[in-house]
Assembly symmetry: C2
Homo-oligomer: 345 residues x 2
């Protein structure tokens, strides 16, 4: 499927589910961007889930997004259960504006929904010449170190800076030892997973990909510590706790809710932006000059593999597995939308 066809389809579905056209297009673009970069777990396979969230009322198609507690450098955006991409792009825009004004822009996002690919927002800021850091908080889906149950979320962290060549150097990582995508991949191939990757539903360590349910945190206490502190500096600062409500089993705790934050830094305020871009390239070149670990085979920069996949999939199209196509078809039919025909039929 071409990116354009998928984008049009996704936007049409979200519009039929109640979103204004502009918002539907933003959500569609963020999902397809993830597919283009090879992060299919955050791509169009999410469409049925998003529609479901809209139907249950957890995601608000026409949110009254409000900016609160505003200063020249900071703001709290009350997202009113907006689709994550809509809330986060609004936050990115506010943070960028404030950064250009005050050197730094710090925007908290309260009561958003699935933030999708966090790197989309930081790299959008980097394309404007800013450095950007973003995190997001969600309900527990990852083990807390020392516990045999989900206690924190695989809260992602993304950092992006502009470089001199291809636009951006982009880190976008979860705090788990392994991404949900890689766990899903292992489930498909049926291969055993290494010890230390996951617990099963009951909280017991497992090397059976089919049984793997709760990923373990990266580097034990470090990954779960980071995730816990992300909950503190996002959810607790915006008075919308997710983890304690979930663990206590309150009604609110079982509803889909997320919080996030984005920090934008105006590089040009602190030095020459052209020198900065040159220095990013120089740093990349220096790291790439190091002796290669033959077991890995190549020294890659953060986001480099995604950039390659983007180039290939922009040319060759995005592979969508049959099972996902069927789910999308079901959603399309229910909403009166039409799936684009895939080139292979």
């Amino acid at each position: 499927m071409t990116a354009d066809a998928l984008r049009r389809f996704a936007a049409d579905v979200f519009e039929r589910a109640g979103m204004p056209g502009g918002d539907a297009a933003i959500v569609a673009d963020v999902l397809v961007w993830a597919n283009l970069r090879g992060v299919d777990t955050h791509g169009v396979m999410r469409i049925p889930r998003y529609v479901n969230l809209l139907e249950t009322g957890d995601m608000n198609p026409r949110p009254a997004i409000a900016v609160r507690s505003e200063t020249p450098a900071s703001a709290l955006i009350d997202a009113d259960r907006a689709a994550g991409p809509v809330a986060m792009m609004r936050a990115k825009a506010e943070a960028a504006r404030k950064a250009k004004d005050a050197g730094v822009g710090f925007v908290l996002v309260r009561a958003t929904t699935h933030t999708a690919a966090l790197g989309y927002y930081t790299s959008a800021a980097a394309r404007e010449g800013l450095a950007a850091v973003a995190v997001s908080a969600s309900w527990p889906n990852m083990a807390y170190h020392g516990a045999r149950a989900a206690g924190v979320s695989t809260s992602p962290i993304s950092i992006a800076v502009p470089d001199g060549k291809e636009g951006t150097l982009l880190l976008d990582m979860g705090t788990g030892v392994v991404s949900m995508g890689r766990l899903t991949q292992a489930k498909k191939t049926g291969a055993a997973i290494p010890a230390g990757w996951a617990l099963d539903k009951k909280g017991n360590p497992t090397t059976d990909a089919q049984a793997a349910d709760i990923p373990l945190p990266m580097a034990g206490p470090k990954g779960s510590g980071l995730a816990l502190m992300i909950e503190c500096i996002t959810s607790l600062v915006v008075s919308n706790p997710l983890i304690s409500e979930f663990i206590e089993g309150t009604a609110k705790g079982r509803r889909h809710r997320q919080n996030g934050l984005i920090l934008a830094i105006d590089i040009a305020r602190f030095g020459d932006p052209e020198t900065f871009r040159h220095e990013v390239d120089r740093l990349v070149k220096a790291i790439k000059s190091l002796p290669v670990d033959p077991q890995v085979g190549e020294i890659l920069m953060p986001g480099e593999r995604g950039k390659r996949t983007l180039a290939r999939r922009s040319r060759e199209g995005i592979p969508v597995p049959r099972a996902i196509m069927d789910e999308l078809q079901t959603t399309a039919k229910r909403l009166g939308s039409t799936m684009p025909a895939s080139p292979s039929g």
Copy 2:
């Protein structure tokens, strides 16, 4: 040794090495704080090295610290090779002041030296009711994922927030799979280290603690990616690159230099600070209510072990190994200072 005696001794040494009394006291307090919390690698064992840095001119005992590019929310502090604790406490003070003014305070630190225990500065901000995030950048001492050589540093990340009971919830972690402290500990006991912890001097993977020289990044590309992005958002933003200069082997690259940043967030600007503190306690309680992993034995919060060690060492004193005592004695003698007598002789 009591904390007080060590503090007085360290301050006396730094004053004799040229620092003003106030600055010497700050450095002494930061080092002894690390000892009190059990992070002995960042404690008084650093004194001889700091004195050496002062003597070679890499650390400036009487720096002309200057605030540049200032806005109501941000600043770049040119530290003029100040001792890390002096530069970072100045940065903490500026960030806290700006946060109370503008909701957020973002302070970059250029050309500092060894930042010591990063958690000291974030927890100092948290004691003022702020949330704080700090990172620091240094020359390469950790493998970059995919390379068989040091390519990035074990750049620490610290996040602290005020809680309702004991003051602060504090995360202070390096980006390596294991801390230098644990590697040093393994060297002493002579036990084999797990595969995946370190490379030897030549860049080959090793399980021999004695040969271990270059720690590996936590979670492979995640740890080294974070460390690389920390270099970008600190060193490159302040125009003081450390990694590329080091790898290229320039004269400047082999001098001891660090950069850092601290972000302070005024919790009270975005919600009720008492509710925040209550919510931190509630979150801790929820996580601690989870089923315990019998292999770990206990669910600990970030910084909890350090807090316990602090309580014990405040009562019982700080154990300083004979070898460290001898090194301190040598430094003391050369500068005309007197080592405090240890209670055991």
